[in-house]
């Protein structure tokens, strides 16, 4: 099941992992948590022969997902987050998930970390460069 293509952010991954853990606890008991299972896996879960293995595979895939970390100066509205996440899915990879962090020292702009590479596109960096030129 290509679950990562349906997940945008690491927050969604965290809540999905929590839900999967809850489902696993109810697997071999009389308690069923299907009514609270996330929609994104419900259909596949019903069709799975080995439900325990299915949940384990999904969980592993979610935990090991590649993450693109963006640090921004202030919290972004939901629509902006969705637009950025879609751009990431289209241009970087459908299995890449977005992680957003807040760092007010950036002032504006963003820093991006992906696959061990770091790029700084923040206003703080631009100001620092401008100040260095002035000093020289």
């Amino acid at each position: 099941m290509d679950i990562l293509s349906k997940i945008n952010t690491t927050d969604e991954i965290d809540s999905l992992v929590t839900a999967i853990d809850k489902l696993k606890t109810g697997l071999f008991t009389n308690k069923h948590y299907m009514t609270t299972a996330p929609e994104v896996i419900k259909e596949a879960y019903d069709g799975a022969v080995d439900k325990d293995a299915f949940l384990n595979d999904i969980r592993k895939e979610l935990v090991e997902a590649k993450t693109l970390t963006m640090s921004v100066a202030a919290e972004l509205p939901g629509q902006s987050v969705a637009r950025i996440a879609n751009w990431v899915k289209s241009n970087v990879g459908t299995d890449v998930v977005l992680e957003l962090k807040i760092d007010s020292s950036l002032l504006a702009g963003t820093t991006i970390t992906f696959n061990g590479k770091f790029k700084d596109y923040s206003f703080k960096e631009e100001l620092t460069k401008a100040l260095d030129k002035l000093t020289l």
């Binding site: 970390t113 696959n115 061990g116 590479k117 770091f118 790029k119 700084d120």
Partner: protein, 494 residues
Amino acid sequence: MATFDYCLKKTGEVGYAEQVFGNIVYATGLPNVTNGEIVVFENDDIGQTLSVSEYVEILVLSSHRVPPGIRVTRTGEQFKIPVGDFLLGMKISPISMGPLVETVKTLHQSESRLVDAEPLSLANREVVKEPFDTGVSAVDLIIPLGHGQRELVLGDRKTGKTRFLFQTVISQTRKGTICIYAAIGKKRGDIKDLREVMAKNNALRNMVLVYSLASDPPGLSFLTPYVAMTIAEYFRDRNKKVLVVLDDLTTHAKYWREISLLARRFPGRNSYPGDIFYIHSKLLERAGNFKRGSITCFPVAETVLGDISGYIQTNLMSMTDGHIFFDSDLYDHGRRPAINPLLSVTRVGLQTHSPLLRDLARVLTSFLVYVERMSRYVHFGSELGDEAKANLDLGDRVITYLEQPQDLVIPINMNVLMLAGLWAGIWRGVEKTEMRKQIREYAKMYTDNHDFAAKVDQVVISQKSFKDLVESLKRDASIFEVVTGNTGQTSGQV
């Protein structure tokens, strides 16, 4: 966080510390990091990459605990230290001279050298040919050494190894040799003692002390001897004679064992990792006699209950050009220095000596073996003839002669002359305390009085063999009158 930010901008790579085991950190990210590269954590702590596979394995070189989740970035550099003449007289710790310490480099405009460097090839090396004087009679006369030799100093704790090394350093600094002392995992008090002794003997001006304390992180202690050797190579390349003391490599091996076990390396014999031999051999191979300059190396190894068949001890014995063994039995019997000349070896020192000195070493060694065998008969209470008694008395005086106070350094020619004089009988009938006093006076006179030193050198150089020297002193021992006022009587010779 200026250092971390600077490196992050410079390299554009970042990683995250996923697992922390003591001083070993496993990080993800850093796609282009190389083995041995220096990395910086977000809290400005330094680390060195041990291996790169699924995770980047980092050895932390700072004493602060690195929290999991912290960011880490590359520096793009291997561990280098700034080197220069400014190091003379300094007491340095590897991290204080290590990477990112721009202040030192800028201040002194010095060059930087890799700590983990390749040894010079055979084409740049020469045979050991110049004698190396330690100033200690038992070594200079019986276990002679040469410049460029690697001689292991071996013995139990508290048997006088460090004091012997101090005497050697003092003796050599007086001759202009640059001395690098690497104190690995020592106590603060020991470092302070060392500095005080060297300062008192005016040895600091030609000396560099590289130290790591017992409380320092194991990574730092591990790097200490390599830093010392790198500094030695700088002075060697300036065509100087250098002495490196590595005190001590058994402690160094234990630190590497600790790091390897934490890094989940498979333990071998005595839980040491499989590369423990290589860790020391690549260090000692950097010493030797070269076409320009020389590096004489004294690695120190501690034994337990006199057991010289230990793993690290035998490793070091196989990669050095001989060893000097400090016997705890002799130490307990009051012999200082407690060097056992019959269990000590020099593989390349004899070739540096003149025929006279080689002859002396041969005569002295065989005489000491003879005396030891005779002493066993005395224990049985057997009757001895006059000749045997005379030889035992001479043997007793020779052993008294070889017992040397820690603050006394005797130049080689004076040593040869005094021993020949002892053989010729100048101290026959003289009390041992008076004999020791006169030895000290002769050594001082040689150092202070150039005319006397020239006369002594002339007498020693003019003879081809030890027997000839003894015979000439039996005929005319007036050179000794400067202290004794008489020439003593001739002795019964073996």
